[in-house]
Symmetry: C2
Subunit: 320 residues, 2 copies
């Protein structure tokens, strides 16, 4: 049994904050041995308790068969060299500051095995800025999760120009083995894919609200009772491919001119004005008091768990 | 029983194509008596068969308790005056041509009771262009459904400048009674809300694909395994309200600058170039052969039914 454990690929997660703890669950529930590192022993202890609680919640939604087994696969470690010394893959989860990332990746490049992948969870800093001049730059990249990654499977893999394509391919395979849904962002771009798509919606939603076309609530309803239903199991391209008899090109011939015109109208970049944000905030607070935000976040996570279980149960889902 | 029937509010649906048939199901399953009009008796017969088949499918997904009862509430009628003569609400579903809408609304305004609402299903023609000069302009508006409306509850109510606000309020109440999720677009705008939000995503998705940042499949995966999950039960504003400890204003302070920068980069309106559309079409056809489109559309509708049943079962859903 000890021998079997030694032979298993080991994942190191560096940083035991919310993202690090969540990554530990993702890898451990897929059967990987995980070493969770933090220099702060208190943070490690808190992470362990949180992982135990969260895996039990996931078990209630039938998303994990055996929460104890998941917890047992997570080892705590407050020594960085020991944490990453036998890792095949290191997932960095430290604060979003360039200097911190730069110092840490230099250390990881010295301490981790030469063939280990070094992946950053950053949502906003492209890999070239903190890995480009490392000896091991070829095995460094971004693997950006969505919060929380044990409920939202998307991971955006984004290489730097110096990243070896083989490291991208290995990361994609590993994340698929971990039950996540990786995508590859082929070149560095601000916001990667998810936040660019989210930004396009938020900026248009803000314009519609600011110009008085609809309430914030009705804009939200347009998504959750309309557009968001299909997008939760098909993307925007498959959606339009199925929305015209002849497929996507047929759709483009019918509706492309409308979207071209809308695109011209929406080429109207605006600041997120303080007064508009205050009006939005005021409308949100009418629907949800400020002291109810935490409870509502817990509701969102329960809804995400139920949705994940629902999607798993759709066994005729051949959409990959 | 006959007397009871006479007293119930009666809905007239004008046009028995795909949208008209679907509206008939929506109103009939909510308990309304529906008169479905088409000048073409063949179309009426086909609609009746389709309604019987579709309501049985809905019953299999527990979305309708008694399909026969729903079908019995739908009366076929090939005389327009008889169809709308006793209606409290008329839902127009004829082809998207201004001259057809204009002629029909003039007839409806003469034939329907003076206090009946006259609503158009149009997705692209604002109401002022075909109702503005009618005697009964005050009771005319757009009620734009999403296809298929018995699975996607959103309806965009959009008044013309001449529409009485009381007609908007009555339409919103009636559609809520019918189990739909109406929103109000306060002023006429191209694309209403849904297609403006969809257009923002499609245009950015097209730019990302055209510029080689990702495959069409990975852009779709970014939505269906990432962004689209929360949006299927929360809108974009509630999503960001829950994504920062202090709520929406806190989120705007943290991430507003990123989205402002993205907005500037995305102010880049482009034509839907033939070559790009052809590449997209080719990639889609690798995943789904052209002769499999119809089967995949049926799959989509089954997924929408299962998702609707899932959302109904989330009894702790206080999101309205």
């Amino acid at each position: 049994m000890a021998g079997e454990t030694e032979a298993e690929p080991r994942i190191a997660v560096v940083g035991a904050g919310l993202i690090g703890r969540s990554w530990a669950i993702v890898f451990a529930r897929a059967g990987f041995k995980v070493t969770l590192f933090d220099a702060d022993a208190q943070a490690l202890k808190a992470a362990k308790d949180w992982i135990a609680e969260t895996t039990r919640a996931l078990a209630r939604y039938t998303l994990i068969p055996d929460p104890d087994a998941v917890c047992e696969r997570v080892t705590l470690q407050d020594d960085l060299a020991a944490a990453v010394g036998d890792a095949v893959y290191v997932q960095e989860c430290v604060p979003e500051e360039l200097s911190i990332k730069r110092t840490l990746f230099a250390a990881l490049d010295r301490l981790a095995p030469a063939d280990a992948i070094l992946a950053s969870s950053t949502s906003g800093i492209v890999a070239s800025t903190f890995t480009g001049d490392l000896a091991g730059a070829a095995r460094c990249l971004v693997a950006h999760p969505v919060n929380p990654p044990y409920l939202v499977p998307l991971v955006e893999i984004c290489p730097a120009p110096t990243t070896d394509p083989e490291a991208v391919a290995r990361t994609r395979t590993l994340l698929e083995q971990a039950g996540q849904a990786p995508v590859v962002v082929r070149r560095e771009v601000r916001g990667f894919l998810l936040n660019r798509l989210q930004g396009a919606v938020l900026n248009e939603a803000l314009r519609l609200f600011e110009d008085g076309y609809a309430s914030a609530e009705d804009i939200d309803r347009t998504m959750k009772y309309g557009l968001g239903l299909r997008w939760s199991f098909m993307g925007p391209f498959e959606t339009i491919d199925l929305n015209a008899p002849g497929g996507l090109a047929d759709y483009a011939a019918r509706y492309g001119p409308l979207y071209e015109t809308l695109g011209q109208e929406q080429a109207d970049p605006r600041p997120w004005q303080h007064s508009t944000v205050q009006q939005l905030e005021a409308e949100r607070r009418q629907h949800l008091a400020g002291d109810a935000l935490t409870a509502r976040q817990a509701w969102r996570d329960r809804r995400l768990m139920a949705l994940a279980a629902h999607k798993q149960a759709q066994s005729d889902d051949s959409s990959n």
